[in-house]
């Protein structure tokens, strides 16, 4: 296979932005009929690389070859015309339009007077849908389709040309297992036609199941390509993060305080049903499960952002009604939300103002906000969390992901909560900040906070938690202690295979 002409090859690609070397000499190639994984942490340069391939960014150095012919990419459309197609993670569909119109977006077949040639459009769409083996028709409105089927429409777009290379960016992020099988079939089919596949994913098990080779990026640099069959997860992880991140199991055994927060029979419509758990002072309770399993919705309900349809919430043993975040804050609950940029920060505000936002009403001297009180709080938590910023006047939008996350954590810690809920604490931040935040979480528990950590990363959950709640499809499947949990049990529980509620 290796003597075949690669369908796509990159050589020494460099891309710099003011102050950043986003890509620093990236080279790899994709052979016909191969599935080639591209891995790297968030911020490693994968998305910049895709933008260079799609002609959105012009590289400062280096060359792209298609079938060994040097090419210059100028736009995603031009890339497509040359046979390089992208399947984006964030679906880029117009959901008010039909399947056919979306598949041929930007290239609708024309008749006289600028009219759409509907007959040709539907005929060609039907051909593509047949290849994809899907149930919906060309005239279905895209907004009426499930996410998985929308993904199929996105893939259908790639098939309006005969692609040489298809780049999948985290295609399974929002798919169910059954839907994944269909996707893998489509990929296998493309593969058999000699199309080269670039497969960007964070999921090790998928990558090891279906790829031929793995290329790794770290901090914009190309770290090497491995034959999938000849390597293992450890080796890939090491390449990805440079050093091994300490994700050893949490095995400290210590005494907890009283129950700080308890939830009994809590339900919220379709989101989650009949959930019970309790978290003690000084304890880290991990919530583990797939995206959409209801973990975030539980946190939002406890924080007063959703109205429970049944069940009770007890704070320090007393039943409470929490109708809004204002209630939650009064009762000593803080939530570090999942989506830092949309829910955690006002990006156009400075660091200090972001940090003091929930309590700005209390930091007053007369009718005015007290500058001194605010700066005191900012300074205290900047030092405590080691936030690196030129000063409090810096707009929070200009900070790195890790420092932004620390501002959000600082914002909630400064409320001196009894219960701190952290949803996806290390999403999209660099390795260094990751372990700092892990340490911080352990430290907070040691100081007597009750901490709930929600995460999609199993090593993270195992590393920080004293107990782990496994969720599947809106239900608590099992509860483990740090001592009795095994990875296999945990995976079974969150796939709906474990014993129901064996406590």
């Amino acid at each position: 296979m290796s003597d075949q002409v690669p369908v796509l090859r990159l050589e020494g690609i460099v891309k710099t932005f003011p102050g950043v070397r986003a890509l620093d000499g990236v080279s790899f190639d994709v052979r016909p009929g191969e599935v080639h994984a591209l891995m790297g942490e968030n911020g490693a340069g994968k998305s910049t690389l895709m933008k260079v391939l799609g002609g959105i960014h012009a590289p400062n150095e280096g060359q792209i070859f298609i079938a060994e012919e040097p090419v210059t990419m100028t736009s995603p459309m031009q890339a497509k015309a040359k046979g390089v197609v992208f399947i984006h993670q964030e679906l880029s569909l117009a959901d008010e339009l039909t399947v056919a119109e979306n598949i041929f977006l930007g290239e609708l077949p024309l008749k006289s007077f600028g009219r759409v040639d509907w007959a040709t459009l539907y005929a060609r769409t039907d051909d593509i849908l047949k290849k994809l083996n899907v149930r919906f028709t060309a005239k279905t409105r895209v907004g009426d389709l499930s996410i998985a089927n929308q993904q199929m429409v996105e893939i259908g777009r790639a098939l309006t040309v005969s692609p040489r290379a298809v780049i999948f960016d985290e295609p399974t992020a929002s798919l169910t297992d059954a839907e994944k099988v269909v996707l893998f079939d489509v990929i296998a089919d493309l593969q058999s036609q000699g199309v080269g596949i670039v497969y960007i994913s964070h999921r090790m098990e998928e990558v090891f199941k279906m790829t031929d080779r793995i290329s790794v990026l770290r901090d914009g640099q190309y770290r090497g390509t491995l034959e999938t069959a000849e390597t293992n997860e450890d080796e890939v992880t090491k390449l990805m993060i440079g050093r091994s991140l300490d994700l050893s199991r949490n095995e400290t055994e210590h005494e907890f305080g009283e129950v700080a927060l308890e939830v009994r029979g809590l339900s919220c419509g379709q989101q989650f049903q009949d959930v019970d758990f309790a978290v003690h002072k000084g304890e880290v309770l991990g919530f583990y499960g797939l995206v959409g399993a209801g973990r975030t919705a539980i946190a939002e309900t406890v924080f007063g952002l959703r109205t429970p349809s049944a069940g009770t919430i007890l704070i320090n043993g007393k039943e409470e009604r929490i109708n809004s975040p204002i209630d939650a804050l009064r009762l000593g609950i803080s939530l570090v939300p999942e989506d830092r940029k949309d829910q955690g920060l006002v990006l156009g505000m400075n660091c200090r103002d972001n940090m003091t936002l929930p309590q700005v009403g209390d930091l007053t001297a007369g009718p005015f906000v007290s500058d001194g009180a605010e700066i005191a709080i900012f300074d205290q938590y900047r030092d405590k969390l080691d936030i690196r910023t030129p000063g409090w006047r810096q707009l929070v939008g200009n900070l790195s992901g890790g420092n932004q996350q620390k501002i959000v954590i600082g914002k909630w810690l400064s409320m001196r909560p009894d219960v701190l809920i952290v949803d996806e604490p290390t999403r999209g931040i660099d390795v260094g900040s990751k372990s700092e935040i892990h340490n911080l979480i352990r430290e907070l528990a040691a100081q007597g906070y009750a901490v709930i950590v929600i995460s999609s990363e199993m090593p993270e959950v195992l590393h920080v938690s004293d107990r782990i709640v496994a969720m599947y499809s809106g239900k608590v499947m099992r509860e483990f202690t740090a001592q009795d949990v095994t990875e296999d049990n945990l995976i079974q529980a969150i796939s709906g295979l474990g014993d129901d509620k064996a406590a």
Binding site: G106, G114, L305
Partner: protein, 333 residues
């Protein structure tokens, strides 16, 4: 039928159902109150209603295209006045007076070209600077009005041409000239938006601009064309209206943009873009005019019209929100 489709159908037919309710209401109440001895549903009355809907109607149809595109145009009222002035003023130019009735098509051409040019200015600015259309056309609203005052200061401009008046007052198959223009505009724009690539791209851009850009649709020139289109239609509206009236006040057309937007929103077009229909806007235009005439018919003060239309617009918003609610379990943000 899926629930979504049912909701769509409900939305599409809502405006026509509303028109029927209006008709029934004003006929019955009108008879009871018997303020006027004529029936409300009088044929002549309905024909007149269509004619009177034309000036705002033609602009509202163009506004639908702009809003489906995800933009807005606040300068149409000023463009309307400017085109009207060009229309009437140009007929007084010496060389035009030597042409006899041939001056008429030429004056029309000047007026329409003025509209297209104004639209092109807006479109180019939106395209090249990337400033939001709301702000660009807000500025243009002032700027174009300045151009209007350039002609005769605060004095009205008048020029009555009887051939023109005869044309404007003519009826063909019972319908007035203005009505024909309104219907023809609606038909052509409906064809444009449903049958052509340009129209389908307009929906795609309004629906998901980034996706459209990535798919290689040239969004800038597309915007430019649509702004030229609405400029043309604002001028066409002026041509239709001022051919008959023959006198334009420099403040004419003020707030037309707001009336047009009201009609478009009543017709169910989404403010965010990507969804809407030309035919429903026509319904919105007729509904507003019916309300005006109907309230007059039942003896309500004409002032009440503004109040009622404003409240109906808000009621439509509340209704739309209720229809789109996801239920109790949604996130409270």
């Amino acid at each position: 039928m899926t629930p979504d489709k049912r909701k769509d159908l409900l939305k599409m037919s809502a405006i026509w159902a509303f028109i029927l309710v209006e008709l029934a209401f004003f006929s019955i109440i009108g008879d009871r109150l018997s303020v006027s001895d004529k029936a409300f549903m009088d044929f002549e009355n309905m024909l007149l209603l269509l004619k009177q809907s034309a000036p705002i109607g033609i602009i509202a149809l163009g506004m639908t295209v702009i809003m489906i595109n995800g933009n807005i145009d606040l300068s149409v009222g000023a463009t309307f006045a400017l085109a009207a002035i060009v229309l009437l003023e140009s007929m007084t130019w010496p060389f035009m007076q030597t042409l006899g009735d041939w001056a008429i098509p030429l004056a029309w051409l000047f007026a329409l070209l003025t509209g297209v040019a104004m639209g092109a200015i807006n479109g180019l600015i939106v395209w090249k600077t990337g400033v939001d259309a709301f702000i660009v056309t807000l500025g243009a609203m002032l700027g174009f009005r300045g151009l209007v005052f350039m002609f005769n200061g605060e004095q009205p401009t008048s020029h009555l041409n009887w051939t023109l008046v005869d044309f404007a007052e003519a009826q063909f198959l019972g319908l007035h000239t203005a009505t024909w223009f309104l219907l023809a505009t609606a038909l052509l724009l409906w064809l444009l938006m449903t049958k052509t690539v340009h129209g389908r791209n307009a929906y795609a851009i309004g629906n998901n601009r980034e996706a459209a850009v990535n798919a290689g649709i040239r969004v800038g020139p597309h915007f430019l064309l649509n702004f030229m289109l609405i400029g043309f239609l604002a001028a066409l509206s002026a041509v239709v209206f001022y051919s008959e009236s023959g006198s334009v006040n420099p403040n004419d057309g003020m707030l037309y943009e707001l009336w047009a937007i009201t009609a478009v929103v009543l017709g169910g077009t989404k403010l965010a873009g990507g969804y809407g229909s030309i035919i429903s806007t026509l319904g919105g235009v007729i509904a507003i005019q019916l309300l005006r005439k109907g309230l007059g018919h039942v003896g309500a003060d004409t002032q009440t019209v503004n109040l009622v239309i404003g409240l109906i617009l808000i009621a439509v918003l509340i209704l739309d929100r209720q229809l789109n609610r996801k239920g109790q379990e949604e996130l409270k943000i």
